[in-house]
């Protein structure tokens, strides 16, 4: 059952690639439909898992990644439907496939630790995952911006100019995605910090005791917060929009990916539930 969303995301990925390359409207609609189908099935899988473990399945890196994939798919579908722009799908869906693949391969049902049985937990994790989904979108939008920017600068309009929306639209979308992501990231971190201060004096769980700014998982996420804060500040105050904002979004999301997979799996002492 956990493999089914992966399979459907893969099909959607192929359809998006085909519709992007051939600019076929019909395949494009098929791609959207298959991604919507994949997200729907994924919703059922997450729902079943919720019933199975008795709370939202965010415990363990694999489950968190899978929830992130689901959120990103839904956020992307929302963006596609509201802007009527399908060109970004070819960049987003492969990311979904890879991450869902990582998640599916290491998937196992984890009984939640007693310490996680708290409403703070759901708010903390869902805010952060939503922020990551927004940053993933911003990163992809940024990459497409740079691709189109290069074509326009080199004065050889071709593949991307024919398929992507205008630079200004991409830049505005990037700005919006980063702002939304930053709000959720800040909220998620704040909730996590408050929760930690409540927990630390009383719990003996070594993972909770290991939570500090020096734990890689936490220091890396704070680093990404700094990058995005700078991006927002620089866009407003010193005119770092366009290409610079695009690069910053790509750097920010690389840090998040680093945190989500290698740090989440191997390096952290605090967040390995």
């Amino acid at each position: 059952m956990t493999m089914l969303p992966l399979l459907l995301y893969t099909i959607a990925g192929v359809a998006y690639a085909f519709s992007f390359a051939r600019r076929s409207q019909r395949t494009g609609r098929l791609a959207t439909a298959s991604l919507a189908g994949a997200a729907l099935i994924h919703t059922f899988v997450i729902g079943m898992r919720t019933v199975e473990v008795g709370q939202l399945p965010f415990v363990g890196t694999a489950a968190a990644i899978s929830a992130f994939v689901w959120l990103l798919a839904v956020a992307y579908l929302y963006t596609e439907v509201t802007t009527d722009e399908r060109a970004m799908g070819v960049f987003i869906v492969p990311l979904l496939v890879v991450l869902e693949g990582v998640s599916a391969l290491s998937d196992r049902v984890i009984e939640p630790a007693p310490v996680l049985d708290s409403p703070w937990f759901a708010v903390h994790v869902s805010s952060l995952l939503f922020a990551y989904a927004a940053f993933a979108l911003a990163c992809v939008i940024g990459i497409t911006y740079v691709l189109l920017f290069r074509e326009l600068k080199s004065k050889r309009l071709g593949f991307f100019a024919a398929r992507l929306p205008s630079l200004q639209v991409l830049d505005a979308m990037n700005g919006r995605a980063v702002s939304v992501g930053w709000l959720f990231l800040t909220a998620g971190l704040a909730v996590g910090a408050v929760w930690l201060f409540q927990l630390q004096p009383e719990t003996m769980d070594p993972r909770v005791r290991a939570m500090s700014l020096f734990d890689p998982k936490i220091s890396v996420v704070v680093l990404s917060w700094l990058v995005y804060s700078f991006e927002i500040y620089a866009r407003r105050a010193i005119g770092w929009s366009g290409k610079r904002a695009a690069w910053l979004s790509a750097v920010g999301f690389s840090i998040i990916l680093l945190n989500l997979v290698p740090v989440g799996y191997f390096l952290t002492d605090s967040h390995n539930f």
Partner: protein, 450 residues
């Protein structure tokens, strides 16, 4: 009933003749009404553009109709027949479909893939429909051509990429800014090129156009023409701060806008993108300015090279487009051929229906005891039976591989069922239909004409 096309275009006639043979001068409706007075064509559509004048008709006798149309063209436009004849082309049957599909796809246009022709064909068909001059044949052919035109453009990208310098500038602006509606434009120079580009931008409903020139009076004049504002030559820097698109087309012998100026302005603009179209020769803007991050600087050669790349790309796609047109023509021919068998199909149905009615009549006395519901059920069952029995032979007849086979099938059915005596003499196709059938070119299946 056959299809016939008589026309002239930029391929066959010089511009002075095309100007004289322009249906739009006296009106397409009038042409259609005069054509209606001619004896032969039962359906007609007149297509007129600046590059072509064509009459599409459905007629019984192509040869007679052709002469009639030639005389009509000569009379209507007051051009002697011998002047006209060498420049006319004539197509019949499937070639008419091929020609129209190619025209609709933009393959026959002066600039391959140009989009206007598509709307012009739609208009021509709409006028003919309004004048009730279209019937079964043209009501199938024209909507089919719209579908072909649309699909060829969508699948091959034949109509994509600007193929004129000014349109290239506008499409670049769209790629940078998206909508041009609220943008500010600064035109530097007031010559012919500046005017042409400013006019194009005005037609895109940009926010504000500022015009500046060393000679204030010329700036004022151009500003009035393009509904813009004249700006003092000394205030160019301030205007550059606000502008999104700058068009420079002065006759200056050295660049009038330096990289240093633009660099300074970009800082003050906080890197807001600036699109500079430098169509001056020699160039008005130092080329290095294009290296600044958010400056998109295109000179006349850049624009021209994009135009030629787009033209080359369109050429590459024409082979694919031609293949698509050929497939559609084949499908249309199958439909056309199936019409030839319609009289047989109709006769066959009539024969079966008369048998059904006769048998019901024969059993009238036995059926009279039935309730009205049961009676209706008997009627329904017998009708269904006849329909089922006729389904396969009708389909086979209409989808016969070629004309000879279709004729052979029709002959056999006529003989076997003794249809010769009661075959309808007038094909239903001859009756002008007022309702346009929905275009279904993807399939060769057609509605049963009964």
């Amino acid at each position: 009933m056959d299809l016939l096309l008589l026309g002239m275009s930029h391929h066959t006639a010089p511009v002075d003749l095309r100007e004289r043979v322009d249906f739009s001068r006296r009106g397409v409706s009038e042409a259609l009404r005069e054509l209606a007075a001619c004896p032969s064509p039962t359906e007609a559509v007149v297509l007129t553009t600046c590059n072509r004048a064509e009459i599409y008709v459905a007629c019984e006798d192509s040869e007679t109709t052709r002469h009639g149309l030639e005389r009509f063209m000569s009379r209507f436009h007051d051009v002697p027949e011998h002047d006209l004849a060498p420049h006319l082309y004539v197509h019949t049957g499937a070639d008419v479909a091929r020609h129209l599909f190619r025209v609709a796809a933009g393959l026959d246009s002066l600039v391959v893939g140009e989009p206007q022709i598509f709307g012009q064909i739609k208009d021509a068909y709409a006028v003919a429909s309004r004048e009730r001059r279209t019937g079964a044949l043209l009501n199938k052919l024209f909507p089919w051509s719209f579908a072909v035109g649309k699909r060829v453009r969508a699948d091959t990208g034949l109509g994509e990429g600007a193929v004129s310098v000014s349109y290239t500038a506008i499409s670049l602006a769209r790629k940078i800014f998206g909508s041009l509606k609220a943008l500010r434009v600064l035109v530097v120079g007031a010559g012919e090129m500046a005017e042409l580009t400013a006019t194009h931008l005005r037609s895109q409903q940009v926010g504000r156009i500022g015009v500046t020139s060393r000679t204030r009076a010329r700036a004022d004049a151009l500003a009035r023409k393009v509904d813009g504002t004249a700006v003092d030559w000394t205030a160019v820097d301030d205007e550059l701060l606000e502008a999104d698109i700058v068009v420079t087309a002065t006759g200056a012998s050295t660049p009038i806008i330096s990289t240093t100026t633009i660099d300074r302005i970009m800082r003050a603009r906080r890197n807001r993108p600036l699109f500079i179209i430098d169509i001056g020769l020699p160039r008005d803007v130092e080329p290095d300015a294009g290296d600044l991050e958010q400056v998109f600087l295109y000179n006349i050669d850049d624009l021209r090279s994009i135009v030629s790349e787009n033209l080359a790309r369109r050429q590459e796609q024409t082979a694919r487009a031609e293949a698509m047109v050929s497939n559609e023509v084949e499908a249309f021919v199958v439909w056309l051929r199936s019409r030839g068998t319609i009289p047989t199909v109709v006769a066959l149905r009539r024969r079966f229906e008369s048998i059904r009615q006769a048998e019901l009549k024969r059993f009238e006395s036995k059926l009279s005891g039935l309730s009205p519901e049961a009676r209706a059920r008997v009627d329904e069952v017998t009708q269904l039976l006849v329909q089922k029995l006729l389904l396969t032979p009708t389909e086979r007849l209409k989808t016969a591989a070629d004309e000879a086979t279709a004729a052979q099938y029709a002959e056999i059915i006529t003989q076997l069922f003794g249809l010769a005596a009661d075959a309808p003499t007038d094909a239903p196709a001859a009756a002008p239909a007022t309702r346009a059938p929905s275009p279904s070119p993807s399939t060769s299946k057609t509605p049963v004409a009964s």
